[in-house]
Symmetry: C2
Subunit: 434 residues, 2 copies
């Protein structure tokens, strides 16, 4: 009955001891604690919160539920990066090749998209042949050989998190700061990185809708990482509009290749350089964030970053001709551009709605495990703050059937807000927490 | 996924529609909604509360989950009574025979004891032969013939409550006002009573520890009963010490018989008359509570109430010689009286501890379904506010083995508080809510 006492303590607003948390996580992972008791405790945690010490104990208990990757035989320092998820976020595809090209190894196990938020694995699978199921040995070998890996979770990292997440998903207990922090950080810590850079999104296309929520999440994650001697920095970034212009898997890969070729949209390039710069700084290759951004920028200018992406694709079995000639990506059946009916200023957009419009086209999934159509998506031609003239292109829908295209056009049109008065453009970043 | 939306709405502090509540209760009763989703919702209800409308909808959904007893062919008006549970509470055994003797039919389905709180069924089973498993037909026939039934739950009343209660018990979600109210009132409404009198206990031997909690519970129960056109009155009564003097099954039956014979302890008699008076008033037999109390008192004085208890015992197969000669009840092996070591005033007691001392002697149960020893218990010789002289008897333990007796003596001694300064005695009632 010890788990009932744990539930009662949290229900009444008390703090749980590390032993009580370990008992819960270990018992749940071993199927000794039933789902219904875990569900009651998760709801109590969501509504009563957790102290920093409890979040740390919860994260470490989840790390202990599975394997821990030891990468110390691969390199002296390994960096990792995590985004809390958003719309059009292809930063990993641009920043990580730049970091690896600068000589800092990056081995990242990414996830798949769910709901409005895309996933790096789905994007990479747009490239025919690209494997995301490397074994731990393959992971380490490739990290040694080319200094860059982008694959799915191969080791049995923090299995308690997978089981808990599935339960949270069906019990209304996803949006809880302690549960989000421990879910993200347990996997990052188990994956063996020495330094972790977090990209915490806030806005209409993010899971966090207010700056206060995002800052609280970032602080808690930095705190947990610090408590286990990881170097951690978090950037709070804007997600009130898609990052870059493309939303949809192959469309985003194409945009990332353009960015690495010096032709990407300014916001995507700036965003990626900042994340890459922070990784170089946290990894000890440069003396500060600014120096890191410059180094990363140099890697893109010289073509070394694009070359690193080529190496990555080759190493993981992808057809590298798609990187060299992005026009090889199979286009969607229907490509239709919508223009502005009147002149005015784009004042805002519901970014999650744009993400869901792409999901509805088949470019994402509402349920885990559903298949994905890599060709479909949308390309936005205006950012918030832009003045648009009548008949100027607003966005282009890439669809594979007529009714889907019509629905996407209507949904995206409804997600855009215009005004006759100018509004400032949106910042890329709000804060850095380290 | 509709249940997830229901969980999310309550998690975020919203009110649930009657349809959402019906969907939850009906789905859970039919095993279509899994325990883990129900557990998350129960915890959200506990922490976020429910409006009066939600509590009403929850109660009625639970009523609809099973049978509803129709007693309209038995009598014009049927009254029922419920106590929220306490220590030494044998009021039903005194009040209900008085009410029935006055001509108002009482058909009550009682429960068993759990934890420190005793149960009427266990007490009645002290009488050899007494049956508590009457069928619905037997229930109705007996109600017609002698106007009094005291049995276990025979019909399939509010089965969702039984399933929910088992889940609440293992998920830390028992102490929730909306869940307590709907649990009690769904069974009372399904049992077919037209008027319901609630005895809501508050104090160290009750589930409610503060007057505010007890009043809130009483108001909510009255409100729900009213909303379905039941006449309901609640009395908030003191449970900071055992009611009467005896705690333990056969000891309490003996005390109830004494009370019906005009020889009971004053607090038990006064308490029982008030509940009986309210039942007579709610049942329309008298014009007010005072008149009801007088009528009930007259039933005891005339011996008609005791005669009604005899009829009850005979009708349900019990050996009525135990009512006529209570000395027939088999005594415990060891009967030891503890005296005061010093003189002073009894200023307070942990009534739940006294209840648990009796449970430990075998007179109650910590888990549902455990067997009970009807002979054991304790008789208190002093009430809070009494002056006790050195060597004056404080309490008598009735035990069946020496170590049990010693443990009970120590536990009860530790539960008593003394002072050199006088304190007032405790009131019997704090409030009436109707």
């Amino acid at each position: 009955m010890r788990i009932v006492e744990t539930i009662e303590t949290k229900r009444d607003g008390g703090a749980l001891s590390p032993e009580a948390i370990e008992h819960f996580i270990a018992g749940y992972a071993r199927n000794e604690i039933p789902d219904y008791q875990a569900a009651a405790l998760l709801m109590a945690i969501l509504l009563q919160g957790m102290t920093d010490d409890e979040i740390q104990a919860l994260t470490l208990a989840m790390v202990r539920s599975g394997e821990t990757l030891d990468l110390s035989d691969v390199a002296e320092i390994i960096v990792d990066k995590h985004s809390t998820g958003g719309v059009g976020d292809k930063v990993s595809l641009v920043a990580l090749p730049a970091v690896a090209a600068a000589g800092l190894p990056v081995g990242k196990m990414s996830g798949r998209g769910l709901g409005f938020s895309g996933g790096t694995l789905d994007k990479l699978e747009s490239i025919p042949g690209y494997r995301v199921d490397l074994s731990v040995t393959e992971f380490k070998d490739q990290l040694r050989q080319i200094g860059l890996v982008l694959t799915g979770q191969s080791a049995n990292l923090a299995p308690a998190d997978g089981k808990l997440y599935a339960l949270r998903d069906v019990t209304g207990t996803v949006p809880s700061l302690p549960l989000i922090v421990s879910s993200i950080m347990s996997k990052k810590i188990a994956a063996g990185a020495d330094a972790i850079v977090l990209d915490v999104k806030v806005g209409t296309g993010a899971f966090m809708h207010t700056l206060d929520e995002a800052v609280a999440l970032a602080r808690a994650m930095v705190q947990v990482g610090r408590s286990v001697d990881r170097r951690v920095a978090a950037h709070i970034s804007d997600m009130n509009q898609p990052l870059g212009r493309a939303v949809g898997n192959s469309l985003e890969v194409i945009e990332a290749i353009e960015a690495l070729s010096g032709e990407g949209p300014g916001d995507l390039v700036s965003h990626s350089l900042r994340i890459a710069g922070e990784l170089l700084y946290m990894g000890g290759l440069v003396e500060g964030l600014e120096a890191g951004m410059q180094r990363a920028g140099a890697m893109i200018e010289s073509g070394a970053a694009l070359q690193k992406l080529r190496q990555l694709v080759v190493a993981q079995g992808g057809d590298v001709r798609y990187v060299d000639e992005p026009s090889r990506f199979l286009p969607a059946e229907i490509v239709e551009t919508v223009v502005a009916s009147d002149g005015g200023y784009l004042t805002g957009m519901e970014a999650a709605e744009i993400g869901m419009a792409v999901v509805a086209l088949g470019g994402g999934r509402e349920k885990k495990g559903a298949p994905i159509d890599h060709r479909v998506g949308v390309v936005m031609h205006a950012k918030v703050g832009d003045e648009v003239a009548a008949d100027q292109p607003l966005f282009t829908v890439h669809a594979n059937y007529e009714a889907g295209k019509r629905a996407a056009v209507a949904r995206i049109q409804a997600a855009l807000r215009f005004s006759d008065d100018p509004v400032p453009s949106l910042p890329l970043f709000y804060d850095r927490i380290a």
